[in-house]
């Protein structure tokens, strides 16, 4: 049979952003895949070396568009670690809530993308419509829909608005009730199962070696979650479970995400219940003259797509010396794809891409 070269992207509706996958296809079977990147490179890490610590803040969140808050949180925690700045207790609770809200909206977006890639177009219309209610809460809290700039070194910018708690709890009830519809339409759908089970399999014994993280790793049956292994913010004071499913295919990843969606709702309810009163912000010195002592640090957290880490080094001046962002998409989108795509069907490329949570802007920065 003749081998055809196919260029999936950068302008292709099946690709989860601006990237390109070069495929060697024989009939419906993929022989070889190669990821091409560089369409979104902006040189973040270099740009941040030219800006003061606070000036870097607006660009940090633009590293990963579907989930900006993890970047803000990581950056703020790294700056705090470097400078020895304390964070008030209430601010930590609010930060955790923001992270969980970010996880919820990211999963809603994923549900839309995953089912949309299979042609179930009712699902994205529902979930992305519902995601907007979460964005409304974000807007109420932070003033922005997508980029929030809310988490700040030394705390958070503003306290919870009046009545926020009730509205948030109402929203959680609403999302929980919607999850029943989603389950019927997507997770229990016969054809969805038929396409998802056994597709894009990552073997359990290879998963750690290949550097897989997050829900994808938990979908292979390995329990690994930064929230439990090395708790940050206030995750050690909360009760939640981390699910694992055997199988390593798209369906087990979907089930992991569905379970975590419900866990995030429960976490937000706990936070709303137990959040302590107190100050939310420790003042930082004049940002233009704020010198941070020499040193380096590595912080990480569990984003909706996996472990997200920042390495930061300061040289004692007002500006960062070096920052290196390690996001899950870098592994999932480049080396992992090249390993699991060969052998699968052409029609499943976009489904696999969505289930791995590949996010091109984060790969390239």
């Amino acid at each position: 049979m003749k081998t055809t070269k196919l260029y999936l992207g950068p302008q292709h509706p099946g690709i989860t952003g601006n990237m390109m996958i070069e495929l060697d296809v024989e009939g419906n079977k993929i022989l070889k895949s190669k990821t091409h990147v560089g369409y979104l490179h902006r040189g973040f890490e270099k740009l941040m070396e030219r800006r003061t610590y606070i000036q870097s803040f607006p660009i940090v969140c633009r590293i990963c568009v579907p989930e900006p808050d993890v970047n803000e949180n990581n950056y703020a925690r790294a700056v705090e670690k470097l400078s020895g700045l304390e964070v008030p207790e209430r601010a930590k609770w609010i930060r955790t809530m923001v992270l969980e809200m970010a996880r919820l909206q990211s999963y809603l977006l994923w549900m839309g993308g995953q089912s949309g890639s299979m042609g179930l177009y009712t699902m994205p219309q529902w979930t992305i419509g519902d995601r907007d209610y979460l964005l409304d809460r974000f807007e109420e809290l932070t003033g922005g829909r997508v980029y929030h700039l809310y988490v700040w070194p030394g705390g958070v910018r503003k306290d919870l608005p009046i009545g926020f708690k009730t509205r948030m709890l109402d929203l959680m009830d609403y999302l929980e009730s919607r999850m029943k519809d989603y389950t019927k339409l997507m997770f229990e759908n016969a054809i969805f199962k038929k396409r998802a089970i056994g597709t894009g399999v990552i073997p359990k014994d290879k998963a750690l070696e290949w550097g897989v993280v997050g829900p994808v790793l938990r979908g292979t049956g390995i329990k690994h979650d930064v929230r439990i292994d090395e708790p940050y913010e206030i995750y050690d004071k909360l009760e939640f479970e981390v699910p694992t499913y055997e199988g390593g295919d798209i369906y087990s990843r979907a089930l992991v995400r569905k379970f975590e969606f419900m866990q995030s709702i429960s976490i937000i309810r706990q936070i709303m219940d137990k959040i302590p009163e107190g100050p939310i912000y420790n003042r930082i010195p004049n940002p233009f003259k704020w010198k941070i002592p020499k040193g380096y640090t590595y912080v990480k957290l569990e984003s909706s797509r996996g472990e997200f880490g920042y390495f930061m080094a300061s040289d004692g001046s007002e500006k960062l010396r070096r920052v290196n962002v390690r996001g899950p998409a870098y592994v999932h989108g480049i080396s992992l794809l090249e390993k699991i795509l060969p052998g699968s069907r052409l029609g499943d490329v976009s489904t696999i891409l969505n289930s791995l949570g590949v996010c091109p802007p984060e790969m390239e920065r």
């Binding site: 055809t4 070269k5 196919l6 292709h12 509706p13 099946g14 419906n28 089912s115 949309g116 890639s117 299979m118 042609g119 179930l120 177009y121 009712t122 219309q125 529902w126 419509g129 339409l185 759908n189 016969a190 054809i191 969805f192 038929k194 396409r195 069907r345 052409l346 029609g347 499943d348 490329v349 976009s350 489904t351």
Partner: protein
């Protein structure tokens, strides 16, 4: 030219224009219904007409060769030939259906798709080629149960003439072929899902997989012709199914209503299902629908 053939010609032209307009109309209604299911407003009812006028008013005319230019036109020819062989009612509305039987209609129906395949081949876009391959595979899949159902019908009525089949269904809903011969009806309805290219079986033009599929390289006026053809094709297919399985129609309004109701069925199935992978499409049709089709055929013959 005699008055009779004159009238016949006028009715034919009216049917062709009417099928375009009605095809667009049910398309836009379907888009409204889809939108309501998905919790939104949806485009206005005139949207398909606007789209097609816009496409005809495009100025660039990019073609990769003579076959690409001819393909959509041949498609249009094929569908017009199909249209005039299907009866839409009584009297002049039977058009030229007495000149050809069911087998002729089936044969001519595939003509447009083959013309399309040739045109896409010349356009040279790999996604187009894959889309056509997928489309033909799907056709290969659903044609088996469809043909089984039609052979059963021919055996039951001892005639391949659509007018005779309609006449035999006279006298109430219980006499409709879909209900009188349930196995045949079920087979045909399952095969129809494949014919309509709604969700479980829309691999040929799955955006996330093969961009626009066969029409990837066709823009502007080509696309306009294809949209028009599609609208006519939907009406032709549904009218044929209504004639064969749902008792035909004595006047054009009842026919329109039946076509619309029948159109809702693949639409609603498509709204709640993702699409099959390509191999599964094929296997689906050759498993249960074919089995039921054989049972229907056995009952029809013995």
């Amino acid at each position: 030219m005699s008055t009779d053939s004159m009238y016949r010609l006028l009715v034919t032209i009216a049917v062709i224009l009417g099928s375009i307009i009605y095809g667009f109309f049910i398309n836009s209604l379907a888009r409204r219904i889809t939108a309501r299911v998905q919790n939104r407003m949806g485009p206005p009812l005139k949207q398909p007409f606007i789209d097609v006028i816009k496409l005809y008013s495009k100025r660039t005319f990019v073609t990769h060769g003579i076959m690409q230019t001819l393909g959509p036109i041949l498609m249009l020819t094929g569908i017009i030939s199909t249209l005039i062989l299907i009866p839409y009612g009584k009297g002049y509305l039977t058009l030229y259906s007495s000149n050809g039987d069911l087998i002729t209609i089936l044969y001519i129906m595939t003509f447009g798709q083959l013309a399309m395949a040739l045109a896409v081949g010349q356009a040279g876009n790999p996604y187009g080629t894959i889309g056509v391959a997928r489309g033909l595979t799907r056709m290969f899949g659903y044609e088996l149960p469809l043909i089984l159902a039609l052979i059963s019908l021919i055996a039951l009525n001892h005639s391949a003439d659509v007018n005779v089949i309609i006449a035999n269904q006279h006298g109430g809903i219980a006499n409709w072929n879909a209900f009188r011969h349930p196995f045949v009806g079920i087979t045909a309805l399952l095969a129809m899902l494949g014919m309509m290219s709604y969700q479980p079986f829309d691999n040929a033009s799955a955006p996330a997989e093969v961009a626009s599929g066969p029409i990837t390289e066709f823009g502007g006026k080509f696309m306009a012709i294809m949209m028009t053809t599609n609208a006519m094709f939907v009406v032709a297919k549904l009218a044929l199914l209504v004639d064969l399985f749902f008792g035909g129609a004595s006047n054009i309004f009842i026919l329109a209503l039946k076509i619309f109701l029948l159109y809702l069925y693949p639409l609603f199935v498509g709204l709640v299902f993702p699409r099959f992978a390509m191999e599964d499409t094929f296997l689906f049709f050759w498993k249960w629908p074919t089995l039921i089709g054989f049972i229907g055929l056995a009952i029809a013959i013995f």
